[in-house]
């Protein structure tokens, strides 16, 4: 994938710079949110495991899913996450939260 260089950036505000990657990859922030979710869940899980010698991965994923939804809402405010991408993130996180609550 070839992206345009930074010299083509017109809007040089924080929002414009943050939104720049979506110009060549529409799903850039979807991937970022997925990465945020995985890092968040793993961090929580391994911190719990270190402290209590055992961890509950599903709970960590549930908590991370809630954090991801909040981050995505902030992303829509900064205009870096489009509504259709946000809805996909919301529904995917909702499924994880539902499984977490039912399993609990």
């Amino acid at each position: 994938m070839v992206c345009a260089g930074l010299e083509t950036l017109v809007d040089q505000s924080i929002t414009g710079i943050l939104a720049f990657p979506t110009s060549c990859d529409y799903y850039f922030y979807l991937k970022m949110m997925a990465a945020f979710f995985i890092v968040g869940a793993s961090s929580l899980f391994f911190a719990e495991k270190l402290r209590y010698q055992k961890g509950d991965m599903l709970s960590c994923m549930g908590i991370s899913a809630i954090a991801t939804i909040f981050m995505s809402i902030l992303g829509t405010f900064l205009k870096i996450i489009q509504p259709d991408i946000f809805i996909e993130i919301l529904v995917a996180c909702m499924i994880i939260i539902a499984i977490w609550i039912i399993k609990k």
């Binding site: 809630i66 939804i69 809402i73 829509t76 405010f77 205009k79 489009q82 509504p83 259709d84 946000f86 809805i87 996909e88 919301l90 529904v91 995917a92 909702m94 499924i95 939260i97 539902a98 609550i101 039912i102 609990k104």
Partner: protein, 142 residues
């Protein structure tokens, strides 16, 4: 086997959490004048509205079942006490679980393109769990 009480509590908690997250998102976007709010999506709007109506109606329906339960005259059965109002409560509360499931499952079907076969299997599992849970509730009271 999951008990009916646990299933019912889980589904209401899921409905409440999803409703809370949607409410927060809608309010946050409206207060900050986001240009393209996600509530304009027809499916999200419909889900939010249905959840709001359902959760509002659950309070009055529960009150009605409470009144029925209080007015029921207990009969002495074989090793237990018989209360027929529990049948009505079971019918109403199982409707709440199925209603919540039907409202929430629309989102993954349409947005993530979940196969109808998967939804059908999940629905079957849920209904079977409800029937077994209610049977245990009627038979043993717990």
């Amino acid at each position: 086997m999951v008990t009916f009480y646990k299933l019912f509590t889980s589904f209401l908690m899921i409905a409440l959490l999803v409703f809370g997250l949607l409410s927060f998102g809608i309010q946050f976007q409206s207060e900050n004048n986001v240009e393209d709010p996600f509530v304009e999506n027809q499916l999200i709007n419909e889900t939010y509205g249905t959840l709001q109506t359902d959760l509002n109606s659950y309070g009055s329906e529960s009150q009605l079942q409470k009144s029925l339960f209080e007015s029921d005259e207990p009969l002495a059965g074989f090793g237990s006490i018989l209360l027929f109002s529990i049948l009505s409560a079971g019918k109403v509360f199982n409707g709440m679980v199925v209603g919540t499931f039907n409202t929430l499952i629309k989102l993954p079907i349409v947005i993530l393109g979940v196969d109808p076969v998967i939804v059908s299997v999940l629905g079957t599992l849920l209904i079977f769990s409800i029937i077994m849970g209610l049977w245990i509730l009627y038979k043993l009271g717990g």
